[in-house]
Every structure is written in C-alpha cells, then in structure tokens.
Symmetry: C2
Subunit: 362 residues, 2 copies
C-alpha cells in the first residue's frame, strides 16, 4: 500500500479489494494491448464478449450455480429488482413477503403495485432487531413465491436458516451479503444482489434465476427492460449493459476465487465480525442493536447511551480517519459495514478506537 | 500519447477523450486524497455529492439549460427511456412518432405497450436514407408529444431542422449526437441520451425534462424507477446511481467546456465529417448511404458495389488497425462513427486507407 487508504465503513458503495483496484488502474488507458479502455469498447466486440463470459463463468464457479439457472446483469439496482420480481413472478398475483426491515419494506411497497402481498412474518414488533421464525409460515396454495431480504443492510440482521417456503420458490435479496459466504443456489428460485455493496461499482444488479421462472407469457404492458426473459434470451446483451461494472465485478470474482472462494471469505468474515461483536458484548458504553443469533456478519449497527453521544462518536471516528460510521437516518446510532473487502486490520483499528473512546468517557 | 491508441469507429460504446482517460487512471486508487476510489464512495458522501453537482452544473453550462428543466441521470439506457417516455408523457394516451430508422422503430414498438402511437412521418420508403419533411405534420389535438430520434445511429441521418410540432412537446433521442453541436433546449419538452456513444461509459442516460412534464398523477402500476418524478425529486439519488458514469461524464463535460463548448465541437465535427463525405462523394468505389442534406456528422454509413467487397474492406481495415467499421447487421455495408472524441487524424487516416484500398481495386 503506497498511499493512505481510508477504512471506509460505508454500507455501499463500499470498499473494493485493493489488488483489484490496482489492476483496473493499470488497464484504464489500454486494456491488454487493445489500444482502448474497457469504457470505450463496443459491447458487441470479441474483447468485451470475453470479459462478460469470463465474469459469468467465474461467478458460476464461485457460487457453484447449477446449469438450470441463468445469470443476468441488469441495470437499475434494487429499485428495479423490487418491481421486476413482482412483475415477472406474480403469475397468480400473490407474493408472500417476510418483513425484516427497511429493504424488505421497500420490496413490499413496490410489489403492491403489481399484485397482492401477504406478509407471512415480521419483526416489526421489536424494531426489526431480529429475524422471525420462518419454520412454519402460512403460505397460501396460490402464492407465487416467498420473498426475503436475506441481510438487512440498515437493521443488521441476517438469516442463518432459510424459511420453509412449503414448496414455493424462494426469492432473496442478497445485496449486502452477496458472495460473503457459501450459498446453495438450488435452495432458491431467484437470487438478486446489487453489486455496489460487496462486489464492485454501483449501477448493476446480478440476478440468478431458475429457468422455469422465466416467463414468456408476461402481459404486454411490462416494459421490455423489466422482463427477465429480455435479458436471459440475450445473455444480458439485449441492450448496452453497464460494461464497466461487468468488467470490475469480473475482476472481483477472480480475486475471490484466488482467495479460496466463499468458504474462505466466510471464515474471514466470521473472524472480522467476531472482533467487533466481542467488543460490543463486553462494552458498557456501546450496545449491539440486534439479537445475537441473527447478527449480520456484514452490517453491524450499535448505539451509545444517547443520540448526542452517538453523534459525538461519529464525529470523533471521522476525525480519526474512519469513514461512514453513522447509522442510517431511519434508525440512527452507528453502523459499521464490514464487507469482504474490509481488511481485518480495519476492524481491529475500529475496535481499538472504540475501546479508547469508551475509556475516556469516565 | 505514450502507447498505441486504436482508431475505434464503434457506434458505441466508443472513444473517450484521451486526456479524460488519463485523469481517470490517475484517480482510480485514490480520488483527490480521499483514500478511496470513486467506485468505493457512498453516493450520500460529500465527495460524491460534489461530483454529481458539478457534473450537472457543467452540463447546464455546456447546453445552456434553462432553469425550468431538470437534469436526471437514469440507468437502463435507451430501452428504459423508450418505456419511460411513453409511460410518463402519455397523459391522453397518444404519442406521435417520426419513423426514421432502427432506433425510432424501437421507440415506437415500446410506446405501443402503453398507449396509441401515430406515425406522423416516415422515411421507410427509401430504406431510411433521409429525414422526412416535418414542416407540416398532422398532429392530432389530443397528442401528448411528438417524438424523434434526432440522429439515427444505424442509418446515419440527422435533423438539421426540427419538426413543427404544432405546439406539442418535442421529445428527442439524442444518444448518438449528444453534445456534438449546440442545441436550444427550450425547443424541446424532453431530451434524452444514452451516454455511451458521445460522452462516457455505458450504463446511464441523461434526461433533460421540462418541469411541467414531470407528472405526479401517474398510475400506481408504473414502477417507481420508471417515473421521472422519482428521479427529479431526489436529484437522481433516489437509489444508488451509476456513480462511476456520473463521475466520468462529469469529466467529459469539463473537458468539452475547456475545448470551447459545443460551438467548437460542432466546428470540429463538421470538419471531420467533411473529410470523409468529400472522399465518398468523389469515390467511384464507395458510396454514402444517406441523402446529402440529412447526413449525420456522427455516423457515416457507406457501401461498396457488393456485400462481398463490403466484408473485404472491413477485414482489411481491421488488419490496418481501424476498429468497428462493419455496418450494423440490420443494414450491412460499412459505418464509421466519428464522435467528439475521434481525433481528426483518425478520420484522415481512415480516408487515406480507403483511398489506397480503392486504388488497388483495378
């Protein structure tokens, strides 16, 4: 590291692996002797086709994606996916949703535009500080799918056990945990993730969809872009995709494979999160906001005894070189997002800072 | 130039100014001492807010955009704009379209999903090789807007005189001519442009919309992302935007201002296009495909006497270091896209090559 790199605890866009950024910097002006930047390449060129194909192949390898799943690269982030999921999968007009916080609520609000939504479980009663029991949900026979936000970025919860969907396809928003741990793709009907949290630059979502869920009988009122079939039939090249994001994410996929894949990332993420949670558990000043068994390894919200002190810690942390520790405006407090690319040293430095801060409170 | 830069005649994504790429390369790892890449920055951070605000301010300056127009940065490219225009502007359910080639046809097909489309003029009779007379169109009283593709990328035509819309808002797709020449924004109700042709990396469209056309009474079935109001109310930060594209385009806006703005670009583009058109006009082997008065300054389609010879020229040009001269599969022949960032030397080199090629045909 030949320059000062900030420990950036942003919930997203967030840190990328330094080794990947160095590769990108070296290729900005001239991609492998092509005489052009990837930003200048026709998306129909052989060079870009190879970049795209390798990105998909590497992601398939990383996640061990079965052949009957398509991998799509779609623009528009979560806001577009909230709509696409409902517009494409609500064949009977009924989606079941588990309400666990800010992002599942957004998904629910958008789905209501396109059909009926049944909330089959919720943790609203305790300010979304836990994941509800989903072992015996009341799923109607005509339900099209069961939707979860598998890691609530703002509220800091995660599922360690997937819901029993009673045979209905499970749809998951993995945005803030994508590629942070192994995932059995066959457990899902559809996985989507905005890439700007745990993978690469903003402007793209990855969608992994079981082929039988790709419909060719959508109402004609569905915009062409909003049909999964549009993207699936054209290998995500129906129109010009976010080529730069595909290129950068592809590099991150290769990097993760070289690091030992998702098992290795999970081990590291467990270790990193434990450093922070162990500190919070023994602290008399800072308190974790989430029930222990549901704590996210990626997003760690915590509070001090008062809002004023929350703000004071945020200000002091910024002055000490830690960025983006303020909790989301909707919940307050503090939040450390410690995605794949946050080095262990960053978490250790944060805990050292918090310890020192606490010791100075008396 | 300390490396071999390819003369890339791609229709898009396409060349970016070398000076801009050099600036980007220097900042990839550490944006102005922030300790992070722009790709890693929270879109809610002060640093990124400044990048966004400057990009908008510079674009307003470049195009002299009146205060009663909003500037939006939207993901999803033309495919999303085709739908958004119709979904947002079809208040009475009727859009008038001028059919001039591949991209206006796409816009028409998409608009039909959301209302009635009336084709008020067409150049289909002559294979879209000209722009029809639009001085006295039959625009119904209840028409919501008149839509044109102001520069047909594939067919190589451009409007030098805007249609008389009989008082209805003019909506234009400027993707392949955006910022290539001065433009009186007040002549339009809405201007949109995918940025990947004449500005920056793929994955974003710029939308310039007159405020009175932003509706707050859209049917609830319109996806949140597809409402112009969503983006206008949040200054394009309703959700995480394509931050990288905003950053890169912002740099191009600054570069264009430093070059003398759109008047200067227009002069250069006229000169560059004249070099190529003058050659085609005197050639006995190559023939321009478009009526003289409607020729695009950006996309120059031309043919040889046969398809076989078209293919032979494309192969020879590639071998000689010119990239992407093959015409679009839907029209064949050859096409040179010579956007803002194509240096004059690139066009001169291409003409030298074509001259030599022609001389060797006897």
């Amino acid at each position: 590291m030949n320059y000062d790199r900030t420990y950036n605890f942003s919930a997203g866009p967030a840190m990328m692996p330094e080794a990947v950024l160095e590769e990108i910097a070296a290729e900005v002006l001239n991609y492998r002797g092509s005489g052009m930047s990837v930003m200048e390449m026709s998306h129909r060129s052989k060079e870009f086709q190879q970049i795209r194909d390798e990105a998909e192949a590497d992601l398939r390898k990383l996640m061990n994606i079965p052949d009957n799943y398509k991998v799509l690269f779609v623009q528009g982030g979560g806001t577009v996916q909230f709509a696409m999921v409902a517009m494409n999968l609500m064949k009977n007009g009924l989606g079941c949703y588990v309400e666990t916080g800010a992002w599942s609520k957004k998904a629910i609000a958008e789905a209501k535009k396109f059909g009926e939504v049944k909330i089959v479980a919720s943790s609203k009663d305790k300010n979304f500080s836990y994941v509800p029991d989903c072992s015996d949900l009341d799923i109607p026979e005509n339900a099209d799918y069961v939707y979860i936000c598998e890691n609530e970025t703002i509220n800091g919860t995660t599922y360690f056990k997937l819901p029993n969907t009673k045979g209905k396809p499970l749809v998951t928003d993995q945005s803030s945990m994508f590629l942070s741990r192994p995932c059995n793709v066959a457990d899902y009907g559809l996985i989507w993730a905005g890439v700007q949290k745990n993978v690469g630059p903003a402007g793209m979502a990855v969608v992994i969809i079981r082929e039988d869920l790709i419909r060719d009988d959508l109402p004609s009122s569905v915009p062409t872009y909003m049909s999964y079939k549009t993207h699936a039939d054209a290998d995500s090249l129906y129109n010009t995709p976010n080529c730069w994001a595909i290129y950068c994410c592809g590099k991150v996929f290769k990097y993760l494979l070289a690091q030992g894949g998702l098992e290795a990332m999970n081990r590291r993420n467990e270790e990193k999160a434990a450093i922070l949670y162990d500190f919070l558990d023994q602290s008399k000043f800072f308190t974790g906001a989430v029930r222990k068994q549901d704590r996210s390894l990626m997003n760690v919200p915590f509070v001090t005894p008062s809002k004023e002190q929350d703000a004071a810690v945020v200000a002091a942390s910024k002055a000490a070189g830690f960025d983006n520790l303020k909790g989301h405006k909707s919940v307050g407090g503090l939040r450390a997002s410690i995605y794949n690319a946050m080095p262990r040293e960053g978490v250790e430095a944060l805990v050292d800072f918090l310890k020192k801060y606490e010791s100075e409170q008396n």
